[in-house]
């Protein structure tokens, strides 16, 4: 079962914006509006940032936004803060026989 494809790394300076892509197929991202994004700081538990492509759980800053086009989803972090330095994972629903699949993760460095 192939994971979704994310760039291994991304970077930006404080105050800048960065976008992380997540590429799947017509069987997962392309078929469902069920894409989530998680943030995992070093040594910490993953934290849900985005669900259903564009929605934010309460408590997540609106600097974090999600989108989708075709088989590719994206996470944009606007106005980078130093504490945004973390690993970011996308996930997508892939049908009842496969459940949820994750991307390989993107390490975001805030320079």
């Amino acid at each position: 079962q192939s994971a979704l494809t994310q760039p291994p790394s991304a970077s930006g300076s404080p105050g800048q914006s960065v976008t992380i892509s997540c590429t799947g197929t017509s069987s997962d991202i392309g078929s469902y509006n069920y894409v989530s994004w998680y943030q995992q700081r070093p040594g910490k538990v993953p934290n849900l940032l985005i669900y259903d492509v564009i929605k934010r759980p309460s408590g997540v800053p609106d600097r974090f936004s999600g989108s989708k086009s075709g088989n590719t989803a994206s996470l944009t972090v606007a106005g980078l803060h130093l504490e945004d330095e973390a690993d970011y994972y996308c996930s997508s629903y892939a049908g009842s026989d496969k459940g949820e699949i994750f991307g390989g993760g993107t390490k975001l460095t805030v320079l």
Partner: protein
Amino acid sequence: EVQLAQSGAEVKKAGESLKISCKGSGYNFTNYWLGWVRQKPGKGLEWMGIMYPADSDARYSPSFQGQVTISTDNSISTAYLQWNSLQASDTATYYCARLREMATIGFGYWGQGTLVTVSS
């Protein structure tokens, strides 16, 4: 407050069996899908499977089907992840996580993780 409390770290030998636990509190345990996610050292997240406690409906990733068993004991609001025969490649941190209300995917609540170390 929703909380998921996982059992402590385990050190096992290849071929041994293991069952780790995840106790839910602060919500109606039977009404929310609860899943398991693997993270090998220095690696990414892997979705293993999920169960709806109310009817024990379990779904597994093809990668983990037949390798592990997910179960629950609703009387004590606890979910389990079980192996019959561990391998060194099972060394990882295992997280239990609960879906958000009415969600298809998207784990909104996570346990603290259980580190499983398997020696060959």
